[in-house]
Symmetry: C2
């Protein structure tokens, strides 16, 4: 039976690596995004260190304010891994050696051609209680723990992203979907080229704002996403949201490039597949980021066959036949060079659409006329011989400039293809 109420979750990440800043907390985003899609609210995400006092305090607070608690990290076998012990102390569990878990550990080590150490036995110790169930770890040694206490569920998982993700998809997500019904309906409208303030002004100036819904503005690397939510009666939610989306579309149509939190690369792959177009890429300052993002999308091989990172002038000349005079007079970061890179791609590949990026990502290499952040982006449709080549100035550090350039080019291609082919 599904619960028909708003379900609140807390996520707790245990371990020094997040607090010292050397590991980005991707585990929490992963769990939170799954919960959000199911309709479970994450009220708080907290990273704390491996200290008994801190773990107990967080757990205790979360038991008071949430229905679901997700704990990751500190399940390893070494001396700084305290999570299991603290959980046992908190709930009054004893640890007991479990043959089935030990067997799995032995199998995993033998598969990897390794021999378990004495301290691995520690990982076969599990809370001896009927309210604590092991979560099978198909890709690692430490089992997870699912504790059912009163009406609450506590899921304890390893901090290694791969192991946590596998447990989520094998066990936790199906469990949540079976037990907690959705309580909201929402849609996301991804916009670009408009600041949050202008977006808000345009929408809020409409007398019907907020259109019977909750409207949130989420800044992303490539623009601002407008999230339209409704928590009303199940049968009416979708209706309200769909109507609000139609109104918002009529107000900012030319700023929309995608829906439902599709990343630029997901949207680009979808659009290209739909048009049966293959893309080829020549990257200079982005150094492979555009292609890396594109190939992060499953099925990218259907629309992408090859690309080039022409980082030096020589390689632009050798691989793409960019004129050496162009490189000398106009420079590598110029509309002429990027246009010639497109010509080179058209000649070298069979792609229906080609695109190119050249710029100065910094921190060095800038000048008065071409400061750091200057990037020229271009694309060309073979069939129509249509060409877009434009110069931009992006702010931020090296990695930010690379990201902005790659995203901007994707968004420009998407907008063009959607307009031109519709």
């Amino acid at each position: 039976m599904k619960k028909d109420k708003i379900c609140i979750s807390n996520i707790i990440n245990i371990g020094d690596e997040i607090l010292s800043g050397h590991t980005v907390n991707t585990n929490s985003s992963y769990i939170a995004s799954i919960l959000y899609d199911i309709g479970i609210f994450t009220k708080r995400i907290t990273a704390i260190s491996d200290m008994k006092k801190d773990i107990i305090a967080q757990l205790d607070e979360s038991m008071k304010n949430s229905d679901l608690i997700f704990i990751t990290g500190g399940l390893g076998p070494t001396n700084d891994d305290l999570t299991k012990k603290v959980i046992c102390a908190y709930f009054g569990f004893e640890l007991k050696f479990r043959e089935d878990i030990w067997k799995h550990i032995l199998e995993l080590f033998s598969k990897r051609g390794l021999i378990p150490d004495e301290i691995n036995i520690e990982q076969a110790l599990f809370p001896d209680s009927i309210i604590a169930v092991p979560i099978f770890n198909s890709v690692g040694t430490a089992p997870g723990i699912h504790i059912k206490f009163d009406d609450k569920h506590i899921f304890v998982m390893p901090g290694v992203p791969n192991e946590m993700k596998t447990m989520m998809s094998d066990y936790v997500t199906p469990f949540l979907k079976d037990n907690f019904s959705d309580i909201l309906y929402y849609r996301d409208i991804n916009t670009t080229d408009i600041p949050e303030s202008s977006l808000y002004s345009i929408l809020s100036n409409d007398p019907a704002f907020p259109f019977g819904c909750d409207i949130a503005f989420l800044p992303q690397g490539y623009g601002v996403t407008v999230r339209v939510k409704n928590f009303g009666e199940k049968d009416f939610r979708k209706n309200y949201v769909d109507k609000a989306v139609l109104t918002i579309e009529s107000l900012i149509r030319n700023k929309i490039f995608a829906y439902d939190m599709k990343t630029p690369q997901e949207e680009l792959v979808a659009v290209l597949k739909n048009l049966k177009l293959k893309i080829s890429v020549a990257e200079s300052c982005t150094g492979g980021l555009f292609m890396n993002n594109l190939t992060n999308v499953p099925g990218a091989s259907g629309i992408f066959t090859e690309g080039f990172v022409t980082y030096s002038n020589d390689s632009k000349f050798n691989t793409l036949s960019v004129n050496s005079q162009t490189l000398c007079i106009d420079g590598a970061v110029s509309t002429v060079t990027v246009s010639e890179m497109l010509d080179g791609l058209l000649a070298v590949t069979k792609a229906g659409i080609v695109c190119a990026i050249s710029g100065i990502a910094g921190p060095d290499g800038g000048s008065v006329y071409k400061p750091v952040g200057t990037v020229v982006l271009g694309f060309c449709l073979r069939e129509k011989n249509k060409r877009f080549v434009n110069k931009f100035l992006f702010t931020g550090d090296r990695i930010t400039i690379k990201e902005k350039a790659s995203n901007k080019l994707m968004v420009e291609i998407i907008k063009y293809l959607k307009k031109d082919y519709n």
Copy 2:
């Protein structure tokens, strides 16, 4: 005057985008890593939503348990941005229009060719108190706030990473360095190819363990980092740590690939620069990730001039002259193909070292003989005609497999070059 005591910080991130899982909390890692390097401890990182009650509760708790509080997010001009108002309510500040901030907003909009909206005036309102100082925002409209209350410092910054980072480097970091002295000395030893449990066993079996230091094990994507910390008397700390590092080196020397949290790409760029070697790359399943990581390192152009993403069989044949029979009989994911990709790179480029990756990142494309995660990695030194080509099986989702493959190849090259040239 610097404080000579352990200084505790709390980081609070405000906003729906982190809790809904759609934005990864990179802001916290950025701030925490800067604090760690200065020697300031982050006790807790918390992400909460834009709700007054939650913000007040977190702020209040942080005021009790920490010396420094870093708040990011919720400084935008729209209705869901509450941070400034809540801060004012908490400290009893009134908001006052500030001419200097408004002038900056106008300038920024005009530079971008945009006209400010009425709601941007909101951003020129600032707490009217001598304990609240604006933090200049050179890349955005919302100023930050530095509050000095008793002995505590609260830094309020925008959630847009670029704006937060600029404020950190322009104002906050220099302030912290001037006011808080370092209280620890530490070094990191990056290992690879050894599980955390074996690492712990080897080290802890030494009678001198933990070598007069605090030893922590931090799992990373490419291996486990051993962090050796000492909080003792300033004049002795470094001595203790250096001695411990020497001992640890003697125990696990062949598992170490770098020091001091250098990423594989940072270490690879440093090693190649040192040897005056240029690298060229051919990527199939990683789709540009290797080159993207490499070019994230400033100065990568000194060691990298060009590379190819040969995603399809055709492109492996056309660009790198991989034998079509090889592709047909052995398949694209084989040691023969990767070896021929290396030959192609040697022929097409002038690089002193070439490397290639071909594999199955999934989710589709696997078979019984070549399951998803099968990746062949190779590299070759032109001068010595030394060649390494090996098949690996990585677990995880598409992006994880790409990351593991790219990191593994980098680490293998680093280890080889360090051994071969020393």
